[in-house]
């Protein structure tokens, strides 16, 4: 989850998010390069006594400031396209979960083998136990097996929502009447938080997402227990 005074991304919990982090570092490095150059040039321009206004036909600099930005854009585009295609690979998921957005909660359906479904409402602030996170905890978490490819089919029952878990590198719009597919692998066990990321009404900020990644054996025990309780 995010912590106060945080500036960067949350720690990655999936291979895709790790790649996105490294790409962001690469892009930020290029931004820093350009910003330093421009800042120096601005400083040089405001501190000169030269006031020649008649500057025409400077072919050399025109060529330089056409070719150089094109090269920089290619240097950004190549790793970007690499990650794009990486994210789009056939990933043969071990599990498919449907995440349905409602006003104002998420519901999850595990229908690969049995029909398991439950709603996931935010825990109100006054009902939080000590140590729990305000506006992030839910009564039922989406449990997934760790280190396994998981497919999430995201849709909505009423208005637009968006299912997002930053540390897993997932954000997918929930559109009524449409099924969007997202995939992730939780690299390690843990609890990963997210929030609805498309404005959906009064309680848009109060329908969080909690993904719990546990070993497969415990995931199977949990799903059996949930089916018994249903």
């Amino acid at each position: 989850m995010a912590h106060p005074t945080q500036l960067g991304f949350q720690d990655a919990a999936s291979p895709v998010m790790e790649e996105l982090l490294h790409f962001h570092d690469h892009a930020l490095m290029i931004v820093l390069l350009i910003s330093t150059l421009v800042l120096y040039i601005i400083t040089a321009m405001v501190s000169t006594k030269l006031t020649n206004k008649y500057i025409l036909d400077s072919q050399e600099i025109e060529i330089v400031w056409t070719i150089l930005p094109a090269v920089i854009l290619v240097l950004i585009a190549l790793p970007s396209l690499r990650i794009l295609y990486l994210m789009d690979e056939i990933n043969d998921p071990h599990l498919t979960i449907k995440a349905m957005g409602h006003q104002w909660y998420w519901s999850y359906e595990y229908t690969d083998y049995e029909n398991l479904g439950f709603d996931s409402y935010m825990v109100p602030t006054q009902d939080l136990a000590p140590g729990q996170f305000r506006l992030l905890e839910t009564d039922h978490r989406m449990v997934v097996p760790m280190e396994s490819p998981v497919r999430v089919l995201v849709s909505a029952e009423d208005v637009l929502h968006s299912w997002a878990v930053p540390s897993l590198g997932v954000k997918m719009d929930a559109v009524p009447g449409r099924l969007n597919q997202a995939a992730f692998i939780a690299s390690r066990p843990g609890v990963f938080y997210g929030q609805c990321s498309e404005i959906c009404g009064a309680n848009h900020s109060f329908m969080p997402i909690v993904v719990e990644a546990v070993p497969l054996e415990h995931f199977e025990n949990w799903s059996s227990l949930m089916l018994e309780d249903a």
Binding site: M29, L37, A44, L50, V143
Partner: protein, 76 residues
């Protein structure tokens, strides 16, 4: 006694010849510094974290701390 003729042409070119290498140099230094103080340490940190990562050991520690809702601590 006559003064030497001052430079009347090429003033901008002279200024550019001085400042542009410094500008490009500084920006490349900034980029390289960022690469070796942020980018590479981050990659190394993730590599080091996962090199000897024992997911079952970490899971057990988290389970005993009561982090999970799907799995209770042993003994409960």
């Amino acid at each position: 006694m006559s003064l030497p003729k001052p430079a009347m042409r090429g003033l901008l070119a002279k200024r550019l010849r001085f400042h542009l290498p410094i500008a490009f140099g500084l920006s490349i230094i900034a980029a390289v510094a960022f690469k070796f103080t942020v980018t590479e340490p981050r990659k190394q940190a993730y590599a080091d974290f996962y090199k000897h990562y024992d997911s079952m050991k970490e899971f057990s520690a988290m389970r005993e701390a009561g982090v999970f809702e799907s799995v209770r601590p042993t003994g409960k």
